[in-house]
Each structure stands twice: as structure tokens, then as C-alpha cells.
């Protein structure tokens, strides 16, 4: 894999999204770090919070698709074969997972600040 130039992949994403790419990358990293911090502190997953996060995540998946459609100057009606649907699924999945993790982390951190009932 050392032959695969990571900078090319980065430039492809920059070509697509511009500076927004860095923002999304930062949000992704922050979400994961926050999620891990909350999980370590609480020692368990809070299932009610997780379900709320997944609901937010559903919207996040849709947002990822809208973003992709807008930066590629196309719509998903342009999908023409199985690989397109697979890719659309992957994009939706990334949006869903990223948003879910971020939402869980934010809720966990906010809950941590409030005095426990």
C-alpha cells in the first residue's frame, strides 16, 4: 500500500468539498475522541442516548447524500448500476455512523457537565 499516494486521495476530497473537507475531518476525529472519552468515563453505553443519537444519525446519512449530490453536480437519479447503489449506501452509512458517534459524544459530554439527579 505504500505506493498509494495518500495525498492524491486528500486532493480528490479537497477537489470535491474544498475547505469543508477539513471541517468534516475535524468533526469526525472530535466525535470519535469525545465518544471514547464518554464511554471510558461511564464504562457502558447508554442505550436511550444511543437511540436518540441514531435518530440524529439517520438525518446525518441523508445530509451526506445531499452533500455528495451537490459537490458532484449530479443527483442520485443518475445511479445506473449496482456499484452506484453500493457507493450511495456507503456514503449514507458514513454519514449515519459519523453523525451518530458525534451526537452521542455531544450528549454524553453535556450530560457529564450537569449534576447527576
Amino acid at each position: 500500500m505504500k505506493d498509494l499516494d495518500l495525498s492524491v486521495l486528500v486532493s480528490v476530497f479537497l477537489e470535491m468539498m474544498g475547505p469543508l473537507f477539513w471541517l468534516l475531518l475535524l468533526l469526525g476525529i472530535a466525535g470519535i475522541v469525545g465518544f471514547v472519552a464518554v464511554f471510558l468515563r461511564e464504562g457502558k453505553l447508554d442505550s436511550r442516548r444511543l437511540i436518540r443519537s441514531e435518530l440524529v444519525g439517520l438525518a446525518g446519512g441523508v445530509a451526506a447524500l445531499v452533500l455528495m449530490a451537490s459537490v458532484t453536480v449530479s443527483g442520485f437519479t443518475d445511479a445506473g448500476g449496482p456499484v452506484d447503489w453500493l457507493l450511495i449506501g456507503i456514503i449514507w452509512g458514513i454519514g449515519l455512523a459519523g453523525t451518530t458517534i458525534l451526537a452521542y459524544a455531544v450528549q454524553g459530554l453535556l450530560a457529564g457537565k450537569r449534576p447527576t439527579a
Partner: protein, 451 residues
């Protein structure tokens, strides 16, 4: 040459399927056919010490990519690149500019941005090649001797061969010409967009010579068709594609697919029509046909001129002396190695090479590592085994939002990078994303010798 088999490909450090697995992790999957790794030899071969003088004629895609790779693999070599043009054109983007999808600035950058360290740039044009005397002479009269010569001088758009053509009028009176220049492509978009608003007769064609990316005239027809549909004017328009011979594309299976798509989109095809003249005032194009000359009036036309080797190459002993490439002066090189057949210290890469098909950035990407391999091996006194099988690719846009990734070799074999995943003759969104988003970064990487 044998047909398509992975082992006949330029040596990969990593299989393309391997790359796909990596790419499945994200949306960048589309970028991967174009980020195939450099030949393993280039990545691992020890640097060769030499004091050889190497001249590269031309600083376009092939010249710059060659310079980057030679600079990486040689130490002490005196590498000189000769080109008068200061701007670098990203030519695969011209159709996107002419399709209103990218701004003119998208395809223009500076040659200086890609020059590798240690390479001397002579900002002149080569006026004369003297392969018997091992030297080139520039327009300014400077004689530059060499031990090895790589000709990457591109080609010449011969607009003068079309009687009545005036390139200063591109963009006016329905005259388009995507290939002319970045400004020409932008002006063509203005003319085509106006046509898409009004309808009428749109005329598309290709020259009866070898040409850069033979898919470009086809895709521009598809793009125009889609704009007419989106603006509700398709019913008011007639689209005609004038093919120079009996097919729409040199690869029969692709020609058949395009024929079917044109039938579906109601693009009328006139075979064996070669444009010879144009009357810009009357808006009439003249073609030779087997039944004599014929005139076709138009409201919009995309003129593509005959293409030939640059004059300095045509006037030199470097061209083919017989066969289909002789008339236009394409360089007489060995198909598998790009080495000159009569002058073993001379190589020809990119558009100027007299080999079948190709003349695309994808051809350059696969040709350059092979030519460099053989040149470096000659310097080192070893033998290179890498082979160029004619691989090239054409992301053929079939409507806004979809394209077909057509990949093939010298022998008209389809050579899909992702068989069973990205089907070669399937109109796909992922291929569109690749063409419009991923191609340019990978192209730039190629210029820098990294892909």
C-alpha cells in the same frame, strides 16, 4: 502483442483489485483506477549514477511526467526540457469547460509548478531535430546536444486544413471548437448553451486523422443532447454526428454501444463524412463523402480539426516513412517500449508517438514509466522488461451525471480495471464522479511522477 493479461500490463506494485479493497472504505472508490501505483521498478530500483545528457522536447503531460521520473531515478544526469509555453493545460478538462461544468481556470496552471528540481527548462520551441547528429536546435538557434532524447512534443491542431475556418470566431454564430484552447472551450460553452436555449441543428464530427481522445467528440454530443433535454428544447433540435469512417469509435464493441445510445437519444449518424470546409457566415459545413462533396447547414457545430505531428517532427527523420502513421509524421517507435525503431537513443511518448489508439492522459500515464524504464536500463547497461500494451482509458460521459469507463488496449480488447464491479459499457454515476472529481488530482500526481 498478446491480448489482455495482467502480466502484459506495465508492472504494477499492487494489483488494481487490491486497490479496490482499499477504496471500498470510502467514497473515493471512484478515484482508484487512476491512482494505480507507479511501476514497482521505479519505486524500488536503485538510483543510477550517470553524467548522460538527456533532452526532453515538450513540457506537456508526457514531457513533465518523464522529467519527474528521470529526475527521481538518475543522479548526475543533465536533464533539459524544452518548451516555449508557460501555461500548462489540463486537457482532459476541456470537455468539462465546454460543457459548462468547470470554469476556464480549472484547466490552466503553470508549467513551472511541475518542473522537478535539477531539470533545466529552456523556454523555447524545438525547431529542428537532428537524430543523426544527436542534437536539437531551438527556434532561437540554440543547438542542444544530447545522449538521449525523449520527444514529447504533442501534436498540432491543423485548423488551416479546413477551408474557411477562423479560430478567432469560436463562440460566435454557433461555432464551437472544444480542442482549441481553454478560452476556446469556454467560448464553445457559450455557443452551445445558446443553442440549447433555442434548438436547431447541432453538428458534431471528428477528423480523418489520428486524434487526441477520440471519445471527446462523442461525449460532447451526449452533453449537448442532455442540455437540450433539461431545457425542454430537445424536440426543437436535430443532432447529427458525422463520423469520418464506418464506425463511431475505433474499438468495435464500444462503437456498437455508442451506436445504440445514439439511436436511443435520437442522434443521427452520417458515416464516411470528412469535413473539408466551413462557411461561418452561412453556417454551412462541407464534407467529402463516398458520393462526392455534401453540405450540411448547422446552428451549432463543434469543429475538430485534423491533427498531425508538430512540424519540427514532421520535417525530421523521426517519423514513420510508411504505413498509416507516415502521412502525418507520427514518430516511428516500437509499440511495446516507445523506443525509436531506427534511433535507439530516442523515445517518443504521448500524442507524438506513432502507435495505435491512445493520445490521452491515460496513455501517457502508462507509456512514460515504460519508456523511462528502458531509457534508464540502457544507461545502467541492463535490460528492462516492462511493456506497454496500449492501455488507455476514456471516461465517456453519456449524460450529465453518468459516464462509461471505457478501457482498452492496442488490440481492441476491453481491459476493465474492476471487472464485475465497474462494468466497462455501463453508464454509471461513479464513473461520472471519477471523471469530474478524481481525475485531475491523479493527473497532477502523474505529472509529479508519483502515479
Amino acid at each position: 502483442m498478446s491480448g489482455d493479461h495482467p502480466s502484459t500490463r506495465p508492472p504494477n506494485g499492487l494489483s488494481r483489485r487490491g486497490l479496490l479493497k482499499f477504496g471500498a472504505a470510502g467514497a473515493a472508490v471512484g478515484a482508484l483506477p487512476l491512482v494505480a501505483p507507479p511501476p514497482a521498478a521505479a519505486a524500488q530500483a536503485p538510483v543510477v549514477k550517470t553524467s548522460a545528457r538527456i533532452v526532453i522536447a515538450g513540457a506537456g503531460a508526457a514531457g513533465l511526467a518523464t522529467a519527474a521520473r528521470l529526475a527521481e531515478r538518475l543522479s548526475g544526469a543533465e536533464i533539459t526540457i524544452i518548451d516555449a509555453r508557460k501555461e500548462h493545460y489540463y486537457q482532459p478538462g476541456f470537455t468539462l469547460v465546454a460543457g459548462g461544468l468547470k470554469p476556464q481556470s480549472y484547466v490552466t496552471s503553470a508549467t513551472a509548478d511541475y518542473l522537478p528540481r535539477g531539470v533545466t527548462w529552456v523556454e523555447e520551441r524545438v525547431a529542428e531535430f537532428d537524430p543523426d547528429g544527436n542534437s536539437v536546435t531551438t527556434e532561437g538557434g540554440r543547438k542542444i546536444p544530447y545522449d538521449f532524447l525523449v520527444v514529447a512534443a504533442g501534436l498540432q491542431l491543423d485548423y488551416d486544413a479546413i477551408a474557411g475556418m477562423d479560430t478567432s470566431r469560436i463562440g460566435q454564430d454557433g461555432l464551437g471548437s472544444v480542442y482549441h484552447s481553454p478560452a476556446g472551450a469556454a467560448a464553445t460553452w457559450q455557443a452551445m448553451s445558446k443553442f440549447a436555449d433555442t434548438g436547431g441543428r447541432g453538428l458534431f464530427l471528428r477528423p480523418n486523422t489520428e486524434m487526441k481522445c477520440a471519445g471527446a467528440p462523442l461525449k460532447y454530443t451526449f452533453i449537448t443532447d442532455d442540455y437540450l433535454r433539461r431545457r425542454g428544447n430537445r424536440g426543437k433540435a436535430e443532432l447529427i454526428y458525422a463520423a469520418n469512417n464506418k464506425g463511431l469509435f475505433s474499438v468495435p464493441i464500444v462503437a456498437e454501444k455508442v451506436r445504440m445510445l445514439y439511436r436511443e437519444r435520437d442522434v443521427k449518424v452520417q458515416y464516411e463524412h470528412v469535413m473539408t470546409a466551413i462557411d461561418l457566415g452561412r453556417k454551412v459545413a462541407t464534407f467529402t463523402t463516398p458520393n462526392g462533396p455534401t453540405e450540411i447547414p448547422y446552428d451549432f457545430v463543434n469543429v475538430i480539426p485534423p491533427m498531425r505531428a508538430p512540424q519540427a517532427v514532421r520535417n525530421s527523420p523521426l517519423g514513420w516513412t510508411e504505413g498509416p502513421f507516415a502521412a502525418d509524421g507520427w514518430m516511428e517507435v516500437e509499440k511495446p517500449t516507445l523506443r525509436h525503431k531506427r534511433y535507439p537513443n530516442v523515445f517518443g511518448v504521448g500524442d507524438v508517438a506513432g502507435v495505435p489508439k491512445g493520445k490521452t492522459a491515460a496513455s501517457v500515464k502508462w507509456q512514460v514509466p515504460v519508456a523511462v524504464d528502458h531509457l534508464v536500463a540502457t544507461i545502467a547497461g541492463t535490460t528492462a522488461t516492462s511493456v506497454y500494451d496500449g492501455y488507455t482509458s476514456c471516461p465517456l460521459i453519456t449524460r450529465l451525471g453518468r459516464a462509461m469507463l471505457v478501457e482498452f488496449d492496442y488490440d481492441n480488447n476491453l481491459t476493465p480495471s474492476f471487472p464485475g464491479v465497474i462494468a466497462p459499457l455501463e453508464e454509471l454515476w461513479v464513473t461520472w464522479v471519477m471523471k469530474t472529481m478524481a481525475l485531475k488530482p491523479t493527473y497532477v500526481s502523474m505529472l509529479r511522477g508519483r502515479a
